[in-house]
Amino acid sequence: METLEKFHEIARDPFSFARAAKAAGGMNIMGYVCSYAPIEIISAAGFLPFRIFGQGKNSEKADAHLQSYCCGHVRNALSDAISGELDFLDGTIFPHTCDSIQRLSDLWRMNTDFGFHYDLVVPVKVSGENAEKYMTAVLRRFRNELESAFQIEISDDKIRAAADKYNRIRSGLKRLYALRLESPGAISGSDMHAALRAFMSMDPDRFLDMLEALMKHLEASGPLAGERDGQDGATPKRLMISGGICDSPDFYSFIEEAGGVVVQDDLCSGSRSFSEQIDLNGDIIESIGKSYLKRIVCPSKHDDLYARGNRLLESAKKAKADGVVFIFLKFCDPHLFDYPWLRNLLKENGIDSIMFEMEDKFLPDGPFKTRMEAFLEMARNR
C-alpha cells in the first residue's frame, strides 16, 4: 500500500525526509528530544515538530563530549547535531527528562548553533495542584519565548486548532492500536513502527490524511487477517512491549519470526506519546499542560509510587498478553531502575516477561534470538 510505503520511507531516513520537506514547502522545523514536548504549541507557531531519534552515522563525533556509559539515544543525537546531520533544524526543544538528556541539552547548546535552543523544564512530579500550576506557567513562558524569538504571534485560536488536529491524530492512532489489539495480524510490527515514526516526523495535516487512508485500507480489507500463523503454524503468542524508545523495526520482525506478535506497547515512541486527549474547552495552555501531566507516565517522572506498575499490569491484562517483552536502551537509568519491580509485579500476576538491552539499534543476532524463542516456547507450554 502506498501510504505504508511512504511511512517506511520516512522511517528509514527521517532526516532526508525532513530536509526535503523543508526545501519543498519552506516550512521551518523544530526538533525535540522527548515526548513531553508540547507539539501543539510548536505546530501553532508554524513549525513542523520533528522528534529527534539520533541516527548516529558519525557517532564517534560524540566521543569528545560523552563517556562510554552514555546511552545510544543521547550519543547519536549529539553526534548528528555536531556533524551537521540535523542541519535542517531551526531550533531544538529539550523537555526535562533524565540526567543524560539534561546534559545533552547543555552540550548541544555549548557545541552547536541551531539558533533557537529551549529548555522546557517541565515538572518531575506530575500530580497535584503545584505541578499543574507550574506546568501551565512553563508552557506560557515557552509560548512567549517562541513569539519573541521569531517575532510571531501564537494566538489561543491557533493553539486550539493545533490541539484539535493532534487530538484527531491521537484518536486515529488509538483506533489503529485497537485494531491491532483485536486482530494482531492486521498490521505488522514494522508497519506500526513506520506509522509512528511518520507521526513524529511529518506535517500533521498530511499525516492525518494518510492515517485516515491507512485506516480505511485496513478496515476495508474485509474480515481482518486475524491471527497470523506463527512458528510451525502455531498461533502466535500475544506480546506487549515495554520500555523507552524503540526505533528498531528489526525488533518487531524478530519477534514475529520467533513466533510472537505484538498486540500492545508501553513505549515512549509508542502509546505513551499519544495516550491523552486535550480538552479544547477553557484555557488551552492549561488544558495542554494537564494532558501532558495525565498521560501514561514516563519513569523519569513521578506520579505516585504504584501508578506506573498498575497501569502496565492493567494494560497487559486488557491486551490478553501472554508475556511482556522489556526492551531498554543500555544505560537508560529510569527504565532500568523500574525493571525489577515491574518484572516482579507481572510475575505475581501470572504474566511472564523477558528483558533485552540494546546499544542503540536492536541487532537480532544469536543470543537474542535463542532467548526469545525459549521465552515463547515457555509461553506456549503454559
Binding site: 523544564v121 518531575v124 513521578h302 544505560f331 537509568d333 532500568l336 525489577p340
Partner: protein, 416 residues
C-alpha cells in the same frame, strides 16, 4: 635507621588532623541515636544528601542519609559485593552504585553498620540527580513508608520565576507533610534557630575549605571528603557548628605552624566529582608520593556553594532558591565557571576528573569542562575512570600509569 624512622613517624603524627577523633565520636553517637530511634520514640526520615534537612531538625526528626551509607559501604570495600547482590535482584550493573548498594543492603541489613534504621518517611530532593527519585521510590515501596518529593527544576541557564514559585509552594507542602507525619504543628521559631545554625555551619565549612588556599595546604580534598560528613548529616545543629569551629581553629594553627597535608607540596590539584570511596587512601598516598596535594574539590564545596541565595532573616523562603541552584543542578558551562573560580582561588596546577560511571549528571560534560579549563586557564587535566562505590570498576595499574604520566607532564610545565 631507627632514628630516621622515629623522625618520619613524628612528622607523620604532626601532619595528622587531630579533630578526626572528635568527628568519629560525633558520627558514632549520631548513628547510635538513629539506630535506636524506635526505642526513644523519635521518627527517622531518609533524606537525599542535597535535600533540605533543616525542617526535619526543627521537627526533631532524625535525618538518615542513604548516600552517606553508600559512602561507608564504598569505604569498607563492601560495594562490589552489594552491587552484585543488586544485580541478582535484577538491577543493571550500569545503575548508580550508591542506590544499588543501598537497595541490596536494605532487605538483609547489609553493609558496615548492619543496615540503616528503617524510615518513617522518605524525603527526596532531585536537585542532585534523577536517580535519587527512582531509588527513593524503590525504598518507599520496600518499607511501605510515605515519600515526599521536592522537585527542584534545573537551571540550565537561569532560574525562572515560575520554577522559584513552584519550589516555594512545594516547601509549604513539605511542612504540611511533616506536620502530618509527626502529628504536631511546625515550630517556625525553632526553624529560625535551625536555619541560623545551618547558615553558620555552612559559613564555617566554607572557611575550613578556604584555608586550603594557603601554601602548603593544611588539609587535602581527601580530608575534606571525611570532614564533610557533618555538614551533610547534621547541618542545622549546634554540634556541627561547634565541630567546624574546632576544625577551623586547627587548620589555622596548622597554617601558622607551616604544617601541610602533603609533606613536600609542590603541585596543587583540583578534584572533580564524588570521591572513589574504596580508594581514597591509595589515591591520597599516590598523589602525596609525587608531591601533589589535591587541595580542593567541586564536591565538598557543594554544601556551602549556594549561601549567596540564602536570606538569613527568612531561611525557609530563601532555601527554595538555594536548594535549587546547587552545583549539580546548573548547566555544564556554569559548572565550568565554578571550576575556573576554584582554579584561581586555590592556585591550581592541574585538574583531576573522576569520570564516575555511577553519576551521569556529574560526569557528562566533564570533557567539555576540561577543554574550557585548558583554553581559559591553560591548566591541564586528567581523567580517572572509576566508580564511587563499586571497587570492581577501578583498575589500579591503569590509574597509576595515568597519574604518573599526568604528574610528569605537570612537572615538566612547572619545574621546581
Amino acid at each position: 635507621m631507627a632514628g630516621h624512622g622515629e623522625k618520619e613517624d613524628s612528622k607523620k603524627q604532626r601532619r595528622k588532623i587531630k579533630s578526626v577523633a572528635k568527628m568519629k565520636e560525633i558520627m558514632t553517637t549520631y548513628y547510635i541515636e538513629a539506630k535506636t530511634a524506635r526505642e526513644t520514640g523519635k521518627k527517622v526520615a531518609w533524606i537525599t544528601s542535597g535535600g533540605p534537612v533543616e525542617p526535619l531538625i526543627a521537627m526533631d526528626v532524625i535525618p538518615v542519609y542513604p548516600e552517606n551509607h553508600g559512602a561507608m559501604i564504598g569505604a569498607s570495600k563492601m560495594g562490589g559485593d552489594l552491587c552484585e547482590k543488586s544485580e541478582q535482584m535484577g538491577y543493571s550493573p550500569d545503575l548508580c552504585s550508591y542506590a544499588c548498594a543501598d537497595i541490596a543492603a536494605a532487605p538483609i541489613n547489609g553493609g558496615p553498620i548492619g543496615g540503616l534504621p528503617e524510615p518513617d518517611m522518605l524525603i527526596c530532593c532531585n536537585n542532585i540527580c534523577g536517580s535519587v527519585l527512582k531509588w527513593y521510590e524503590i525504598q518507599a515501596r520496600h518499607f511501605n513508608a510515605p515519600l515526599f518529593i521536592l522537585d527542584t527544576p534545573i537551571s540550565h541557564v537561569d532560574f525562572s520565576k515560575e520554577a522559584h514559585d513552584y519550589v516555594r509552594n512545594q516547601i509549604r507542602d513539605y511542612i504540611a507533610f511533616l506536620e502530618k507525619e509527626c502529628g504536631k504543628s511546625f515550630d517556625y521559631d525553632r526553624m529560625n534557630d535551625v536555619g541560623r545554625l545551618s547558615i553558620e555551619g555552612q559559613r564555617l565549612w566554607q572557611a575550613v575549605l578556604d584555608t586550603t588556599a594557603n601554601r602548603p595546604s593544611p588539609m587535602s580534598a581527601f580530608d575534606a571528603f571525611f570532614h564533610l560528613a557533618l555538614i551533610v548529616t547534621l547541618r542545622g545543629t549546634q554540634e556541627a557548628t561547634d565541630y567546624y569551629k574546632t576544625l577551623l581553629a586547627e587548620m589555622k594553627t596548622r597554617i601558622k605552624d607551616g604544617i601541610g597535608a602533603v609533606e613536600n607540596e609542590t603541585y596543587r590539584l583540583l578534584w572533580d566529582n564524588l570521591p572513589i570511596w574504596s580508594k581514597t587512601k591509595w589515591l591520597s598516598e599516590k598523589f602525596s608520593s609525587l608531591n601533589a596535594c589535591l587541595v580542593a574539590d567541586t564536591y565538598t564545596s557543594a554544601w556551602c556553594g549556594t549561601m549567596k541565595y540564602i536570606d538569613e532573616t527568612d531561611f525557609l523562603e530563601s532555601m527554595a532558591q538555594a536548594y535549587s541552584r546547587v552545583h549539580l543542578n546548573i548547566g555544564t558551562d556554569q559548572m565550568a565557571e565554578t571550576v575556573i573560580e576554584m582554579i584561581d582561588k586555590y592556585h591550581i596546577d592541574g585538574l583531576v576528573v573522576h569520570s564516575n560511571r555511577s553519576c551521569k549528571p556529574y560526569s557528562f560534560g566533564q570533557y567539555d569542562i576540561l577543554d574550557i579549563v585548558r583554553k581559559k586557564r591553560g591548566v591541564p587535566g586528567m581523567v580517572i575512570e572509576a566508580d564511587m562505590v563499586d571497587e570492581r570498576s577501578f583498575s589500579e595499574s591503569q590509574v597509576e600509569t595515568r597519574i604518573d604520566a599526568f604528574m610528569e607532564m605537570i612537572g615538566a610545565a612547572k619545574p621546581v
